[in-house]
Symmetry: C2
Subunit: 335 residues, 2 copies
């Protein structure tokens, strides 16, 4: 299997990206194709013993985090992310992984690969660590304004993803809302709730609304929401964990025995950290485009890159795109 | 000052509500008026030594958490929450505190007290504990669909609240969004950002967009958002803290020295708990109606009720309603 990696994307590119590729290449069933500035990528690769399953493809341009994504993708035809998509489109690779500008990855995927038939809006999907296992939330930022039918499409894509990639059978699908009753919510969610209930006869295991407080309590396997709400919640979660840690640190420093206590808790803290640490995760798939595309954190270091490559490999092996393409048979409501 | 308390509202009414009233009545400058079923309230009051500054007013009906709020408020003219609002409207009390059905409190306030001139949509405002001090977020649930001008009205109301009640001068106002740049966001927030920037010449200290991760980092004093997003974030925060505690508990039980560590950290844990514990807070004011109305948690026990009564007293003393009424002079954009 051939995974193409945007060597120029992310805050630590190309150094950490190349390192992650080398780590992932220990799996001999994979071939990693590094796309980017040949000279810089080559320089990084020299740090490691030569690997037969790492290839490079030159791209003369790259897109910075600060650039306007759609504009940059359109103008810079030879940007690394555009070259990545082209390799998949031409059948020379099976999946793309990038830690670059999220908007640019989305735009490049849409222009380069196109949408799966029946899916109007691709969505970014994230696995949140929950009390037991994980909960898949989508959309977390691809679509800041949605119509009710989009949320139904997200529900089917989330179902396909969790069934194929995480291995949850007949996943429980919930709608993120501000009340549990069907008639609660804003215009979008009250209408989406009605549409989702209508899909139960088509085999969608829609269990109704879920509130913010229940997301991490495994009340559902897949939670759908518009990309604005999903993004705010995702970033708030990141910030809350960080701010809480700061609060505890302030307090621990006020009485030194607390620090001994902290020492005794190290094993527990490490295992909680492993669970909530995004670097352990394999990035967020962009669902609904004609190819496996994994968007990983802009601050991704080698471990995250390696895990994202692995996640991409699983998605390819499990035929995720075929599963999403089959969704259209249920005749999705059109927005 | 006379504070009217909905003795029938909340999961622990009237027991905890009456207890909270008794605790608050230690402040002799206050008179607490308990509104509810005379017999049940009287029975509770008998548990305590007679207090000259606690009065009771009978209400023959009450509204359950499960009832349709607007409907119930309209039909049950003699519901305790309606009687509370009437007392303020008739000048017989200065403020209302209720732990009852949030929708019913809002509806009763709107019907009973009316809106402040110039405010199209009252909003519920909550003080989140942040790394340093607090951050005021509104709307957290009164308006599930908003137009851009509503967010401008929320900004001015949040400013008035934090200036008068919390005592922050020239507060920094931010818009909750999915990117820091002005042009980022959904239809609502990109339009609201533009309107808010236009208010800078009117003295609004609008500092731009803020992302979910920065809410608790004191980057702004007041954060405005629509009530759907605000409610999801508020409830997610509650849930995340709870789920994290569960995660740690699971891990701590796997290696007993962790528990000794926990013991050594008790002082620190207690002080963090005090900071993030909603029972320490004085409830959430409903801003934009013609009277001080404090909505407190449905699970409020006596301490929360007492703190909410105190918060109501501060708002009355600081003439919060006058400050909100003065907003209209800046000629709010109309939605």
């Amino acid at each position: 299997m051939r995974i193409v990696l945007d060597a120029m994307g992310g805050d630590y590119a190309p150094v950490e990206v190349v390192k992650g590729a080398v780590e992932a290449a220990k799996d001999e069933s994979l071939t990693i194709i590094l796309v980017g500035d040949q000279a810089r990528v080559g320089l990084e690769l020299k740090k490691y013993p030569k690997k037969h399953n790492i290839e490079t493809v030159h791209a003369s341009e790259d897109i910075a985090m600060s650039e306007h994504p759609v504009e940059a993708v359109r103008v810079k035809k030879d940007a690394s992310i555009n070259v990545c998509m082209r390799l998949v489109k031409e059948g020379k690779a099976d999946a793309v992984v990038s830690a670059g500008n999220t908007g640019a990855v989305m735009a490049a995927a849409l222009f380069g690969l196109g949408r799966v038939k029946g899916i109007e809006r691709p969505a970014i999907c994230s696995a949140f660590p929950a009390v037991k296992g994980h909960v898949v939330v989508l959309d977390i930022g691809a679509n800041s304004d949605c119509r009710p039918a989009h949320l139904v499409q997200f529900a089917y894509m989330g179902k396909a993803y969790i069934e194929k990639v995480i291995g949850v059978a007949n996943p429980r699908i919930a709608l993120l809302n501000i009340g549990e009753e069907n008639e609660k919510g804003n215009e979008l969610t009250t209408a989406a709730n009605k549409l989702l209930r209508g899909e139960v006869i088509n085999g969608l295991n829609f269990i109704g609304n879920i509130e913010g407080k229940d997301i991490l309590e495994n009340e559902a396997d897949v939670v759908v929401c518009d990309g604005f709400v999903g993004n705010v919640v995702l970033k708030f979660a990141e910030g809350l964990v960080f701010s809480m840690a700061k609060l505890f640190r302030q307090q621990f420093l006020q009485w030194w025995p607390s620090l001994i206590g902290l020492f005794l808790q190290l094993p527990a803290l490490r295992s909680v950290k492993a669970k909530i640490d995004y670097t352990e995760y394999g990035g967020a798939p962009l669902l609904g485009v004609n190819g496996v595309v994994i968007i990983t954190h802009g601050r991704a270091k080698s471990k995250t890159i390696k895990n994202s490559i692995r996640a991409a490999a699983v998605a390819v092996r499990q035929n995720l795109i075929d599963a999403i393409a089959r969704i259209k048979k249920v005749e999705l409501p059109v927005a």
